[in-house]
């Protein structure tokens, strides 16, 4: 059972109050993009065994989207942050590095 804190309304609740929305920080591609870029945006996923950045929605609360950093093996939550960003905030990265010193970092280039 995950316990998440919504950065939009500040409520801390268990996962049944939220809904997972898949990988965060996907780079969007639209008309004019190459087939490979469009495929990558729509379907290709990091699916890491370890640190994962993902979208969540506070469905039974304020209804807003936010991002979370979580470990897919231990289910440890490193922190949540606003969805109004295309980069991972430094304090979240510091938190992850603190807990996972051998973490390779997130490739945001796709």
């Amino acid at each position: 059972m995950l316990i998440l804190t919504c950065p939009n309304c500040g409520v801390t609740a268990e996962e049944t109050e939220f809904h997972a929305g898949g990988e965060a920080h996907l780079k969007r591609f639209g008309p004019g993009a190459s087939d490979a870029d469009f495929e990558s945006y729509l379907f290709m996923r990091e699916n890491p065994k370890g640190v994962h950045f993902e979208r969540w929605r506070h469905v039974y609360g304020c209804g807003k989207w936010f991002h979370a950093a979580r470990d897919t093996v231990t289910l440890e939550v490193f922190g949540t942050y606003s969805a109004q960003t295309s980069t991972i905030p430094q304090d979240i990265i510091d938190n992850v590095r603190d807990r996972r010193p051998d973490w390779q970092g997130q490739d945001n280039s796709q």
Binding site: A36, F43, M44, R45, E46, P48, K49, H52, E54, T72
Partner: protein, 414 residues
């Protein structure tokens, strides 16, 4: 390999069971193989078996990081059916179902295939129309299914409550030749047959890297040394993305936990498999008398093989209206497996960007039923470079937009 038979049982009974042999050799890795299969679950072992049986390729190693059949092969709810809507799915699942019928004889190993019949309940009008369409599609595909009304459902499943207030049973898609099999025995039977053909089934051998030269696979690195190969088959379900990462490409796959649970053993009360997709639950009774129950997947990426507790509650809550007797059952065990779910909820059997490396994954929540068909098709793909059964399941379908949209026809709504 000594043949298993009634005569062998009688002979061993007389000499106090001292003559049984190991079912498969505890092989040590050699330096080089023609083909290496990563993953000794059902799909990996079946691939190796049909490489040997259909194509005479027996210089094969099957590498397993844990123990044989200890992943999703030993964690599923053992349901076998082929009542799919789309032609490519129906073809490969029906191939699998038909191979299950003779598997015990082919492998000389009792996999306890029980064609007891599978009902998929229609509990909304939308589902009624959907399953009528599937029944028509199945008629064209040569898959024997039938849409039945609530009276027939009640006759087949006396413990069901067909006029529940929230989810009444309006009918069902009935596949009489579907059923269940003993999941462990499927892996064990294939492993025994592979070992008998001279293949090496190597347990506790974890692949740590995939070696390549000029874009062609040359072998793998493992915790038991480097092993060379000409062709590589990656058949590791939930860990496919992890392995693709080692090989340097990505897959359109996300790994999530799917849970199942069994009740205390009770007297025989239900001799068919019932799936209820609207309420996310499916149930059958094992030969030991346990009610085997499965539900939906967790919503988020997960490698823990556990899953969240509230999903069990949702699954059981959903079943209680349709099967009121479930409310009096004690649940004995609960477990989870990591399923690999693709963008269109259909599997991937394909070549990869690395020459000589093939991938078989993405079976998601419905892999067990496909094991022999998947192995048959994957072996043909690896031996000949193409198979009519895998043509629709290539990785290129995601780029070309040729999806096999089976979300609505799968065992549970995703």
């Amino acid at each position: 390999m000594k043949k298993y038979s009634a005569f062998a049982v009688a002979r061993e009974a007389i000499r106090h069971h001292t003559g049984w042999q190991r079912a498969w050799r505890d092989a040590q890795p050699k330096k080089r193989y023609d083909v290496i299969i990563i993953g000794a679950g059902g799909h990996g072992l079946a691939t190796a078996y049909y490489l040997g049986k259909n194509f005479g390729i027996t210089n094969v190693a099957i590498l397993e990081k844990g123990w044989l059949g200890g992943g999703n092969t030993g964690r599923n709810t053992t349901i076998i059916r082929s009542n799919y809507l789309q032609d490519p799915s129906a073809a490969i699942y029906e191939k699998a179902r038909s191979l299950y019928e003779t598997m015990s004889q082919d492998l000389n190993y009792n996999v306890m295939f029980s064609p007891r019949g599978v009902i998929m309940l229609a509990q909304t009008h939308h589902e009624v129309r959907g399953y009528q369409r599937t029944a028509h599609a199945n008629a064209l595909q040569g898959v024997q299914t039938e849409f039945i009304g609530p009276d027939k459902v009640k006759q087949l499943v006396p413990i069901i409550n067909v006029d529940g207030p929230r989810y009444p049973v309006l009918g069902g898609l009935w596949q009489q030749r579907g059923g269940t099999a003993r999941h462990d025995a499927v892996a064990w039977g294939y492993a025994r047959a592979c070992s008998d053909m001279g293949m090496d089934v190597i347990q506790k051998c974890e692949v740590t890297g995939i070696r390549q030269e000029n874009g062609k696979v040359t072998g793998v690195s493992t915790n038991r040394g480097d092993i060379d190969c000409d062709k590589l088959g990656m058949v590791v379900a939930g860990h496919s993305g992890h392995l693709a990462d080692m090989a340097g490409f990505r897959l359109p796959i996300e790994s999530v936990a799917l849970q199942a649970l069994v009740s205390e053993p009770i007297k025989p009360c239900m001799d068919v498999v019932v799936m209820a997709n609207t309420v996310h639950g499916y149930m059958s009774q094992s030969d030991k008398g346990e009610m085997v129950i499965g539900g939906g997947t967790d919503g988020y990426n997960n490698y823990t093989q556990r899953g969240a507790f509230h999903h069990i509650e949702e699954t059981v809550r959903a079943l209680v209206e349709t099967f009121p007797m479930v409310s009096r059952l004690k649940m004995l065990r609960q477990w989870g497996g990591i399923v690999d779910v693709t963008g269109d909820r259909s599997p991937i059997l394909s070549k990869t960007p690395v020459d000589g490396a093939f991938v078989n994954c993405g079976w998601g929540t419905g892999g067990f039923k496909a094991i022999p068909g998947s192995g048959w098709a994957m072996a043909e793909l690896m031996a000949k470079g193409r198979s009519p059964l895998t043509d629709g399941f290539g990785l290129n379908r995601f780029q070309e937009g040729r999806f096999i949209d089976e979300s609505v026809a799968a065992g549970v709504a995703h």
